[in-house]
């Protein structure tokens, strides 16, 4: 006998994911709390959420554990993957690459697939925390189709450790109703106006890579600089700017939306989301430079469900699936096969796919930047000043 009020597993999962999508959207929020990981662990621990063993007839096992960023997938693709393979995707959401690295260094993560950013991959290779990929198990990966700029970081000493997921930029979001109608597209203007007519209205990330990088760009230095004199200049600027800041946070969307803040360092996807909902919030790249980044799919050493890991990555690299991902999260891909399936308005969107010459001014974050202890100490001094 069937109870009419019974909610199906699938329906429940959809609701849960919607809930997760709506409430757990921000890297900072998750970084501070680890709540995302807790949610995912809970979801994994509730037996009712897993497909029954009877359904999971496939050879890859009944689950695959994915460590990724918030709002970075189309939940329906996971449903389809489960239908096709019987493996349920358990999603752990993380706040920063540093946090991801810390978890893997501590050991026993239990992950099968994770999503490192370009500048972390050599560190994972050095620390022996990443599995070299067996490309015969990833037939959907076609190196020819990928823009090498966004695929190179996955290859270390000729060995492929990671395949590209999405890429993006770190630029400036400004509320043009306060900036005289034009988008702010320079780090010089960003910091100068913060100390002038934008005082108390500007936010910078709670993240050394982008915040120190922006201050270095202000002085015309490399985003990645670890030079002591250059870092000292950046520090002086940041300390001078601090009394004029609205907040130091990577959770900048709410304050931009409420109108409390007018200017912020901003990642592509957030810029797109803000601009879509509030057209007067513009996103622009800093003309002095800035960050270009690329995220990758990779498998950690000793992944408990290795076959399922390959199956999931291969599934995600299917151009049809990948196109649905882009439609859901709004980050660009470097795969020409996927781009061929995307609508014109996405490919022509200046936020998602900036003109090539604008990209040339940008730099990829470097591994040395991520692990440099001086930059970490600089950020601590800035935050406690």
């Amino acid at each position: 006998m069937k109870d009419k009020s019974y909610i199906s597993k699938q329906k429940f999962m959809e609701e849960l994911r919607r809930y997760e999508k709506g409430s757990v959207t921000r890297r900072h929020f998750l970084g501070v709390t680890g709540l995302g990981a807790a949610t995912a662990v809970m979801a994994g621990a509730l037996p009712g959420l897993r497909p029954s063993r009877a359904l999971a007839g496939s050879h890859i096992g009944d689950r695959v554990v994915l460590a990724t960023w918030p709002n970075y997938h189309d939940p329906e693709n996971f449903e389809t993957f489960t239908e096709q393979t019987g493996a349920f995707t358990q999603v752990n959401v993380f706040g920063s690459n540093e946090e991801m690295l810390a978890k893997l260094q501590a050991g026993g993560s239990g992950w099968d697939v994770y999503v490192p950013t370009n500048y972390t991959i050599t560190t994972y290779v050095d620390e022996d925390l990443i599995e070299p990929l067996d490309m015969s198990k990833l037939p959907n990966y076609d190196p020819e189709a990928f823009d090498a700029r966004f695929a190179d970081a996955g290859i270390v000493d000729g060995v492929v450790y990671a395949v590209p997921k999405n890429w993006g930029t770190t630029g400036i979001a400004s509320n043009t109703s306060h900036s005289g109608g034009a988008a702010i597209d320079s780090w010089k203007v960003f910091f100068d106006r913060t100390m002038d007519d934008f005082s108390g209205r500007t936010m910078v990330h709670d993240y050394q890579l982008t915040t120190i990088g922006a201050a270095l760009n202000y002085h015309g230095y490399s985003f990645n600089s670890v030079d002591e004199a250059e870092l000292a200049d950046a520090e002086k600027l940041l300390i001078d700017v601090k009394p004029h800041l609205f907040a130091i946070t990577s959770d900048y969307q709410p304050a931009m939306r409420s109108g409390d803040a007018w200017l912020t360092i901003c990642w592509t996807g957030d810029g797109k989301q803000l601009n879509t909902d509030i057209p007067e919030i513009a996103f622009a790249l800093g003309k002095e430079g800035g960050e270009l980044w690329s995220d990758y799919y990779a498998i950690p050493k000793g992944a408990p469900h290795m076959e399922a890991a390959y199956a999931l990555i291969n599934f995600m690299l299917d151009p049809e699936v990948n196109a649905r991902e882009v439609m859901a999260h709004g980050y660009p891909v470097a795969d020409s096969r996927t781009n061929a399936l995307l609508p014109e308005e996405i490919l022509n969107d200046p936020i998602l796919y900036p003109a090539a010459e604008r990209l040339d001014a940008l730099e990829f974050g470097a591994a040395a930047t991520l692990t440099d202890p001086n930059r970490a100490e600089l950020l601590a001094r800035f935050k406690s000043a």
């Binding site: 970084g31 501070v32 709390t33 709540l35 920063s96 540093e98 946090e99 690295l101 810390a102 260094q105 560190t123 050095d126 620390e127 108390g200 936010m203 709670d206 993240y207 050394q208 601090k242 800041l245 609205f246 907040a247 130091i248 946070t249 709410p254 304050a255 409420s258 109108g259 409390d260 692990t371 202890p373 970490a376 100490e377 950020l379 601590a380 001094r381 935050k383 406690s384 000043a385």
Partner: protein
């Protein structure tokens, strides 16, 4: 089995608990604090005092914490005392239980969710927008030290209310009548009877709130907009961002030492107070 053996057996569970839950984790922290940061983050064994020599780099964080913790405790006390007094002395017993439950109800939700609620209340579309209707413009509340204080008082209020409530509830109400009959003004009665007899509750409440505040990191991060930096925030950054476990451990050891010193001084003070009154104890 001799009595001596039996005694050991009786103490064993508590001993094992202390060993596993207190001694072992603290030893790990202590050992880590003498190590070094691995080049890519993490920890490598060493025996160096370098981490302790670097502690001045987090001096501001300690200063901020040692300013905020006492101030936050005081603010919570000032708000909590009248509430506890109202509940214990003035409220009809029929309503007591339900009102007490109302004090705890917010505790059923994570402090994180409640802090996020405050972000919206104190944000531009919240209270400041309301004040604008009344003609008060340009008020900035969110991401200020004021917002952090509000969050702290709100978050820790029940911890302060309950011990004071218990102390006041035990107070023999006939003493208040006696004081009044003997011609004391209400204020005199409060200062000379009610307040001294609730010292134990105040001492316990302050201790609970103070100790927890010393390790606070979430409220400054969420309501202070990252501009208010405490030892708790320094620790989170050292372990999760720069992954400098050795230095992080040294900061943690220092925090424990600072706590030991302040709490010892505090207990001495309370002990001196209670030396004149036998009914006062701190826990």
């Amino acid at each position: 089995m001799t009595e001596r053996e039996r005694n050991w057996l009786m103490v064993a569970p508590a001993g094992v608990w202390l060993l596993v839950m207190l001694v072992l984790p603290l030893s790990v922290v202590l050992i880590f604090s003498f190590g070094e940061r691995a080049p890519a983050g993490g920890w490598v064994p060493a025996f160096t005092f370098e981490q302790y020599a670097n502690l001045p780099a987090r001096l501001t964080a300690f200063q901020n914490t040692l300013t905020l913790a006492p101030l936050g405790t005081l603010a919570a006390l000032i708000i909590a005392y009248p509430l506890a007094y109202q509940l214990a002395v003035r409220t009809d017993p029929r309503w007591k239980t339900i009102l007490l439950v109302l004090v705890i109800v917010p505790f059923w939700t994570s402090i994180l969710i409640r802090s996020y609620a405050w972000i919206y209340i104190l944000g531009g579309q919240g209270l400041p927008a309301l004040l604008e209707i009344f003609g008060i413009e340009g008020v900035r509340l969110i991401y200020t030290p004021f917002a952090v204080t509000v969050g702290i008082v709100y978050g820790y209020l029940p911890l302060m209310v309950f011990p004071i409530y218990v102390a006041l509830d035990r107070l023999d109400k006939r003493l208040l009548e006696a004081s009044s009959d003997l011609g004391a003004w209400p204020l005199t009665t409060f200062l000379r009877v009610t307040l001294p007899m609730s010292i134990s509750g105040i001492a316990t409440g302050c201790m609970l709130v103070f100790i927890l505040l010393m390790g606070e990191f979430l409220i400054p991060a969420l309501l202070g907009g990252g501009k208010v930096f405490f030892v708790g925030n320094a620790l989170v950054d050292l372990f999760l961002q720069s992954r400098n476990w050795a230095f992080g451990s040294a900061v943690a050891v220092m925090l424990i030492l600072v706590m030991l010193v302040t709490v010892t001084i505090y207990m001495r003070l309370i002990a001196r107070l209670s030396a004149t009154r036998e009914d006062v104890s701190i826990m």
